[in-house]
């Protein structure tokens, strides 16, 4: 009996998409479209640009589906493609210069406790936001981010660290009192 698309694993769908299966790829788009668009929005893309880049990423993903062999998740793979495409677009506008902290966001502690990640990301400057999102949202390693953003590795590490510190401060007010917070995983 033929398995329904909804029951199929991403890897199976990707394998069939690599053989030209558009319906299977459509299912992957349905499953991960929002995640990719969300990632791009978190990176700072306006909704229309995020959708445009996400579509380009999925189109490219369809062409390159054979490259996905189930090492890691399909979501992670397509997110990386989308993130790189977005960075290329942004690089064309030369927005990521090695910037000195331009808007050291005033972190006002949210007394209600946890707040929305998207709101918290707005307190980061643009480069920090992109670096943190690439690292934690797209699962890219620091050297990959450095290469994609054309920034020195050390700079990327600093941006990620500063961005994370701000996020932690913003998301967990109780832990901000003693300077840098530590977490036990």
């Amino acid at each position: 009996m033929k398995q329904s698309l909804r029951e199929m694993h991403d890897v199976e769908l990707a394998a069939q998409a690599a053989a030209g299966g558009r319906r299977e790829y459509g299912e992957l788009v349905r499953r991960h479209g929002s995640a990719v668009r969300g990632l791009l929005r978190r990176m700072g893309a306006a909704p229309s640009l995020a959708d445009d880049v996400a579509q380009d990423a999925f189109l490219q993903g369809f062409q390159r589906c054979a490259e996905f062999r189930g090492q890691g998740t399909f979501a992670g793979w397509i997110k990386k493609i989308a993130a790189r495409l977005y960075l290329k677009r942004v690089a064309r506008e030369a927005r990521y210069v090695e910037e000195v902290e331009t808007d050291d966001a005033q972190i006002s502690v949210d007394t209600a406790g946890l707040m929305d990640l998207d709101e918290a990301l707005k307190t980061l400057n643009e480069t920090e936001r992109v670096c943190v999102t690439l690292c934690h949202g797209a699962g890219m390693a620091h050297p990959e981010i450095a290469a994609a953003m054309n920034l020195p590795l050390g700079t990327v590490k600093s941006h990620v660290k500063r961005g994370l510190d701000k996020l932690r401060a913003r998301l967990s007010p109780a832990q901000t009192s003693g300077g840098r917070s530590t977490y036990v995983g």
Binding site: V29, S34, L117, H136, L164, L167
Partner: protein
């Protein structure tokens, strides 16, 4: 990611995805784009293949036919007849496309043929690369 960067809370928050309300619209638009690109790709590659193949066949047949005329003993009459028929058919096809008057053999002979074949191949390759990058 270094140890002090790992934060389960932040990881969890990033992993959370809120389905967007226009999810279906996004998927439908993408399907349309995929369909359109696929059609263009097929059309472009087919057209390039037909034109390139037509020119190449014509040149090969013409070359064989001409060289055959100088070396009558090397070709049997039937093969020559087939070659002539094929040449005639190709020629009429190319005439129909408006490119039948090219005579690549008149200049520097095979050199011209290989230049044209090389150019066509390069064009095809460039087209294929461009299309695959676009899609």
């Amino acid at each position: 990611m270094s140890v002090d960067e790992y934060d389960p809370m932040i990881e969890r928050l990033f992993a959370k995805t809120t389905p967007l309300p226009d999810e279906a619209l996004f998927a439908a638009e993408l399907a349309v784009r995929m369909e359109k690109r696929s059609r263009w790709r097929t059309l472009a590659l087919t057209a390039a293949g037909v034109v390139g193949g037509g020119v190449a066949v014509r040149e090969v047949v013409q070359f064989n036919f001409k060289s055959g005329a100088h070396q009558a003993s090397s070709l049997s009459d039937s093969v020559r007849a087939v070659a002539a028929t094929a040449q005639g058919a190709t020629q009429s096809g190319l005439d129909g496309l408006g490119i039948g008057s090219f005579d690549l053999m008149s200049g520097s002979g095979m050199m011209a043929f290989w230049i044209v074949a090389g150019a066509l191949f390069a064009l095809l390759a460039a087209g294929a690369v461009k299309l695959s990058q676009d899609v």
